[in-house]
Symmetry: C2
Subunit: 547 residues, 2 copies
């Protein structure tokens, strides 16, 4: 069993001294010596024979991946066969091959679930991992199963003619007249340029995860129920549908709006319920953020996702969305700021400010995650242990006193036992607290880390546009473009800038709301935490006789 | 300078990971690389070139000790010369030699005080170190300067004819009639046999440490003022006088009563005031414990120490005490239990119980000290650092938010700053707390550890007596002793047992009082601690806008 359980390290991880951890580097191959450690950790041995704990989110189990890879290829092949026509010999033999693999995988992983989820996810969203933070240690990630390496990936091959950063030239040189339905107006609000917000804010509830299966039970998956507040009619979606939606949103909006990644898929699935709960929680967070966005929530593809009435409507909508031509930089042609044109210098100044702010906030959020991660480990590790030891020491003293045969022992003995038990309770309170308050702080910061990780891509498009416009004078002289073209470019750049400003104002408004709520909640829980402990100690204190 | 600052390790010390500590073993020679670390730590390099922190109580600075040793020898020589007669050439040259050494030592240590204290202590109580716990790591010791290795040492060479354990035979075979003044009665109290307690409990205040000097300022010392509640008239004593008293009490009472060691002397004296304060606190603790003991407090030597009127009375009393013949096992001849004689089986049963209890309590106290020590280090080390980091992370986030140029930033920015500052305050509260509550818990347990360390010696005398009486039948048969002798032995053994019972009941009563007060105080301070933090967080919470 052990022989086949090896794993590749995805991210550098530095061991904390005294915690039995193992320092590993990206790309390193480890042998897994114990996968049942729990709490997101596995025990592994490196090539130098050192054994220690590694966060399971930092590694990729190799054997599973290889088999999964074959699997995915097979499935991709199957996808091209029309299921409704006939089940040919080819199909049957592929099924047979898959069955053998399923059994092999079950043997390797020891869990039906982990394999199925694995397969499901790998086939569904195989392209959505990696990216942002790939070479950095994941500060908050290890405490929270999975969700980490989030960034928006501009699906480059979907934008014909784009190299790394989508080239805004196509858009800049075109004179646009915003069309009716797709028009995305920008108004001057109290805080500056803002998107048009709907009267009633869309929201939805992601709930009720259910295990479904297809292909004669060979392939199982989890289906979530999403109920929008507008129709109050639930729709069902699998993770792969969320991922499809994500891909569409990236294609369509990512040049103008940072689209945060979906919560990550996970490699092993030993804690089925816990994982599903966590993924649901994160899908809920992602959906709520999308719902809150006036442009995204109002888009056809998003509406389809929430409101489709039957399979047919869903399939038709899907096909339509996939054929949408207003994607990439073309989205700016829909944007219609009813505001005075900005000159390129103003545009550049805004760009610099936003670029600087998002970078700084990214660093700050990472710092908070890092210290939160440390604190989490301290509370659930050494601090819990220490309070337990204090509790035990008092109780042992009480036990010893109990053997004195001295007639006036009773009160003190009882009081010391109570004190010891109180400290044991405190140990559990301390260890349980991070889940109560730090969890939310970490999750939200994690989400923000993901969101902030998308800004550089989005902002890069603006930078490219600014550079193009800077070249315009030269191009006019060279007779490559007309003076008229230059003016169009400047107008279009102004439109892009308004889009960025509206988006930043949306971000700021959400950020202030989120962090206000977040820290408030954290402090409330912390106050309760300290008050609870004080209360418990007061009760123990009451057992002593006053002298 | 550095070259001469090497030190020998007195006790094994195991480094805690992540604290920059250095694991050292008894006997190892270290080079001191930084003596100005503070809080009881020095930085040292071992022979393998590893550098790290070591508790200064665990090491003995070598150069100082060597010079001190020569010094002590010289002084001992001086002590034998009558100062009042003449100052011969010999004396003058010794003074000259000493002066040169003083200068050398000053150069080596960089402090007048440390040398003088050193010298004073080494010459005064050179024999009172070592003993109990010598080979064990000192659990609570490092946080509290000095006071550790306490056990009573039966001054064996003062008990003629005793090998390791004082031999109770001399006493057992003698028929005693208790004399008037020295009689130590034992009564049956509510809790069993008890000493005769005085109407008013003696107590004293140790205060007002003053630096004195003699031998033309060459030798300086600290003199403490001790004021008993009986006379309210202060007397002055140096540490060496306390040590003299301790030696007398051990000589006279240690076979019957455990005499706890004095607080230890210290090797280096960099924190003059802190050290003097700590020693005074511990001398106060020791004196109070002695005052509380009905037998000790009533003894001539103890009364002399507290009540002498002038140098002459002190010197006469000293000489008388040193000539006291009722020492060692003879003390039992003064004991007069007005209670029915116990048979040897009853005696042995009591012995077993006390032996077991004191051993168990010793272990339990050591456990409490060990966990207290850990907790102290955690609070003043990693926890303080972590809360500071949390504070800093919030403040940094606030600074970043402040650069957004978004108009609705102010409240959140201010609230986050307040939150950050609150966590920085909490960091200091957490780090300062051990001095407020854990200190007293550690000190008292430390005192008990010392006291409990004396029981084995005292109890061993009883065990030896039990064994002698067990042999009595055989000796009667062999005609070595008469039947009458045997009955006398049994009666005397019964008297010894009553003494032990009275002493244990005294111990239990004090123990219950002390631990009740101790844990009560600790819990009170802990409650305040948690309430203070909750209060501070509540205040920070109030800065957020409710949404």
């Amino acid at each position: 069993m052990e022989s086949i359980c090896c794993a590749q390290v995805l991210y550098d991880f530095t061991a904390e001294p005294g915690n039995n951890e193992l320092t590993v580097q990206e790309g390193e191959i480890l042998t897994l010596t114990n996968q049942s450690i729990g709490s997101g950790w596995v025990e592994a041995r490196n090539s130098r024979g050192n054994v220690g704990l590694v966060p399971e989110d930092y590694i990729e189990v190799k054997t599973i991946l290889i088999i999964s890879f074959v699997f995915v290829i097979s499935l991709l092949y199957l996808e091209h066969i029309d299921f409704d026509i006939h089940r040919s010999l080819v199909f049957q033999s592929v099924i047979l091959l898959l069955s053998v693999m399923v059994i092999l995988c079950h043997m390797a992983v020891g869990s039906v679930y982990s394999f199925d989820e694995e397969w499901d996810d790998d086939s569904d969203d195989g392209k959505s991992t990696g990216g942002y933070g790939g070479s950095q240690a994941e500060e908050g990630g290890t405490m929270q199963r999975g969700g980490a390496h989030s960034t928006m990936k501009l699906s480059l091959n979907k934008f014909p003619g784009f190299s790394k950063t989508p080239n805004p030239e196509v858009y800049l040189l075109t004179k646009h007249i915003s069309k009716g339905d797709d028009r995305l107006p920008i108004y001057m609000g109290e805080v500056g340029p803002v998107w048009l917000y709907p009267q009633i804010q869309l929201d939805c509830v992601v709930a009720d995860p259910k295990k479904g299966s297809k292909m004669y039970g060979l392939k199982s998956y989890i289906e979530y129920q999403i109920t929008p507040n507008t129709t109050n009619r639930p729709v069902n979606h699998r993770y792969k549908h969320f991922d499809w939606l994500y891909e569409r949103l990236v294609e369509k909006f990512a040049c103008a709006l940072p689209i945060p990644c979906l919560p990550d898929k996970q490699v092993t699935g030993r804690f089925e319920e816990e994982f599903i709960k966590m993924r649901m929680e994160r899908l809920q967070g992602w959906m709520s953020r999308m719902c809150r966005h006036p442009v995204i929530s109002n888009s056809d593809v998003f509406q389809l996702f929430l409101n489709y009435r039957d399979e047919k409507e869903w399939k038709l909508g899907k096909r339509k969305a996939e054929k949408d031509e207003i994607v990439g930089v073309k989205i700016f042609s829909n944007i219609d700021p009813e505001l005075p044109e900005l000159d390129p210098a103003q545009v550049e100044q805004k760009y610099e400010m936003y670029s600087q702010f998002t970078r700084s906030m990214d660093n700050s959020v990472k710092e908070l995650l890092a210290v939160g991660h440390l604190h989490w480990k301290r509370c659930t590790g050494p601090l819990q242990k220490e309070y337990r030891q204090i509790g035990k020491a008092f109780q042992n003293l009480s036990s010893v006193f109990n053997t004195s045969a001295y007639p006036r022992e009773y009160t003190l003995k009882e009081a010391l036992t109570a004190t010891g038990k109180t400290y044991e309770e405190i140990a559990e309170i301390v260890a349980g607290q991070p889940k109560k308050d730090l969890h939310f702080l970490m999750e939200t910061n994690h989400e923000y880390k993901g969101l902030l990780g998308c800004f550089p891509d989005t902002i890069a498009v603006h930078k490219a546009a600014i550079d193009k416009v800077k070249e315009a004078d030269h191009l006019v002289v060279m007779n490559k473009i007309s003076q008229q073209d230059k003016l169009i470019m400047e107008k279009n750049l102004s439109t892009m800038s308004y889009a960025l400003q509206a988006e930043m104002n949306h971000f700021h408004s959400n950020r202030i709301y989120d962090y206000n709520r977040l820290v408030q909640f954290y402090l409330e829980e912390q106050v309760k935490f300290y008050e609870t402990i004080a209360e418990k100690l007061k009760k123990a204190l009451g057992q002593y006789t006053t002298m």
